[in-house]
């Protein structure tokens, strides 16, 4: 027998503060691990291209000759694969997510500075 079996729940709801987040008046809920968006630090990059080669969605293009790093954020699925694979700390994920756009934004473009000469090993390692 069950009429109005939900009565208790809805009555409780009615007389208690709703759990609704006040976003955007209040900041969004985030966790440390939250994969918001990808951040590239050109200074740390060794142009190994592993991020490009292993990107599941091919959002990243790295040009070894021109030393450029490009990312199309309308392709990036923020899976963090590149971050995991990056041999240096050039890539990391921030919990804040990207905001909406009215049009396709230009790709994020970085020129990678030439580092002081160091032994280069990252690219080959990751490709193996």
């Amino acid at each position: 027998m069950g009429v109005f079996t939900i009565a208790k729940t809805i009555t409780r709801n009615l007389f208690s503060r709703p759990p609704t987040s006040r976003y955007p008046a209040e900041p969004a809920k985030r966790f440390d691990l939250t994969r918001g968006h990808l951040v590239f630090t050109p200074e740390g990059c060794r142009v190994c291209r592993v991020c490009m080669l292993r990107c599941p969605t091919q959002a990243i293009v790295v040009d070894r000759e021109k030393r450029t790093w490009e990312c199309d954020h309308f392709r990036c699925i923020t899976c963090g694969n590149c971050v995991d694979l990056c041999p240096t700390d050039a890539l990391h994920l921030e919990p804040a997510y990207r905001s909406p756009e009215a049009a396709h934004p230009a790709k994020e473009f970085h020129t990678i500075p030439v580092p002081p000469p160091k032994p280069e090993a990252g690219g080959e390692k990751a490709e193996a």
Partner: protein, 359 residues
């Protein structure tokens, strides 16, 4: 003089969250024929294996479906690990189990909500989804994302979860259980819900089995078939009994899923109790060669991932047989003679995931 009403139902329809399309032939509101059609979500992602590294493909496998996401990723890993004969560290296996069950919780709560919505029970929908948010928080705080977790990789998992966090999750689920109890109480005992679900879309045990039904649909018809019993992941070390109902109607399917919520909570508890210390991943070298069928129990039923590899980093063939796909023929059988108002309910009763089904 035919008095048949022929109308299109879907692909865009407020009670179908996903594009499925049915041509309904009715007399008054009695459905005399249903002609289904899919293909609105067909992307052809199975073929992407030819272009992606098998290790990266896990991210795509996860995106077969955003609801069953984790288990797709995990099953894909199982398949590849099966081909390569990798022994994944036990902690990773347990973590995968915990996440699987959390996925099941979120998926079942989601489904209960959608079912309530399909019969116009809005507050019940809200309540179910409100509870689901707790599970999503657990998932996000441990994996980094709410619905597509991206936590699995070939050879292990990507993030460790501290024992303290696992405890917190279990404690949180303890509190959630009370809410789920109230929620499922409505589904199981409310007369208006029973009016909508009982004796509707009945599949007998024989029918369900012969038509290839899977998961809760099969179990609601009295077949104790739960792929978790095959002991993949950590399930061989955990104790549980598959939830079985015998009526085979929509109500039975609802009850099965409602009860499975508690099974899942229990499994998470057991897993957290027994989780061993140790590494969470292993180094995977070389490329797979061979083939493997991996099966898992998704919230919607049995999923089969088949992988065939030839020793390159690209797989030759990756095939997914999702539970919704195999539940389509039983759905058609269940839809004979129902009323228009029952259409969304019966369709939802197999917990369709069109994204899964069409890939």
């Amino acid at each position: 003089m035919s008095r048949q009403i022929v109308i299109p139902f879907g692909p865009q329809h407020p009670v179908l969250p996903e594009p499925l399309h049915l041509d309904l032939v009715m007399e008054d509101e009695r459905v005399v024929d249903v002609i289904p059609s899919i293909g609105y979500v067909h992307r052809g992602l199975e073929k992407l294996v030819e272009k992606r590294d098998y290790k990266d493909f896990v991210f795509i496998a996860e995106r077969i479906c955003g609801i069953c996401s984790f288990i797709h990723g995990m099953t894909y890993c199982h398949a590849v690990e099966g081909v390569m004969d990798l022994d994944v560290p036990p902690r990773a296996v347990y973590l995968r189990t915990v996440w699987s069950e959390l996925s099941r919780l979120h998926s079942h709560l989601l489904w209960l909500g959608l079912l309530a919505d399909s019969m116009g029970f809005e507050s019940l929908f809200m309540q179910a989804w409100r509870l689901r948010e707790h599970v999503l928080d657990d998932l996000e705080s441990t994996t980094g994302n709410r619905v597509i977790q991206g936590a699995c990789k070939v050879g292990g998992v990507r993030h460790d979860v501290s024992d303290q966090k696992l405890r917190e999750i279990v404690d949180g689920l303890g509190q959630l259980e009370a809410g789920m109890q109230d929620l499922t109480n409505v589904f199981v005992h409310d007369d208006s819900v029973k009016h909508r679900l009982s004796d509707l879309g009945v599949l007998t045990e024989q029918q369900a089995w012969d038509l290839g039904a899977a998961g809760p649909v099969l179990r609601a018809s009295g077949v104790a078939n739960d792929i978790r019993q095959t002991g993949y992941a950590a399930y061989d070390e955990l104790e549980f009994t598959p939830v079985v109902e015998t009526a085979g109607d929509c109500y039975a399917r609802t009850v099965v899923r409602a009860k499975e919520l508690f099974t899942s909570v229990d499994l998470i508890r057991q897993a957290v109790d027994r989780i061993p210390e140790g590494p969470i991943d292993m180094k995977v070298t070389g490329n797979p060669k061979g083939e493997f069928y991996a099966r898992s129990e998704q919230p919607r039923g049995e999923v089969v991932h088949y992988v065939k590899a030839n020793g390159t980093k690209n797989l030759v063939r990756f095939r997914v047989r999702t539970p919704t796909f195999t539940n389509l023929p039983p759905l058609l059988a269940a839809m004979k003679g129902i009323e228009l108002a029952d259409v969304p309910v019966v369709v939802l009763s197999i917990d369709p995931c069109i994204g899964c089904a069409e890939r």
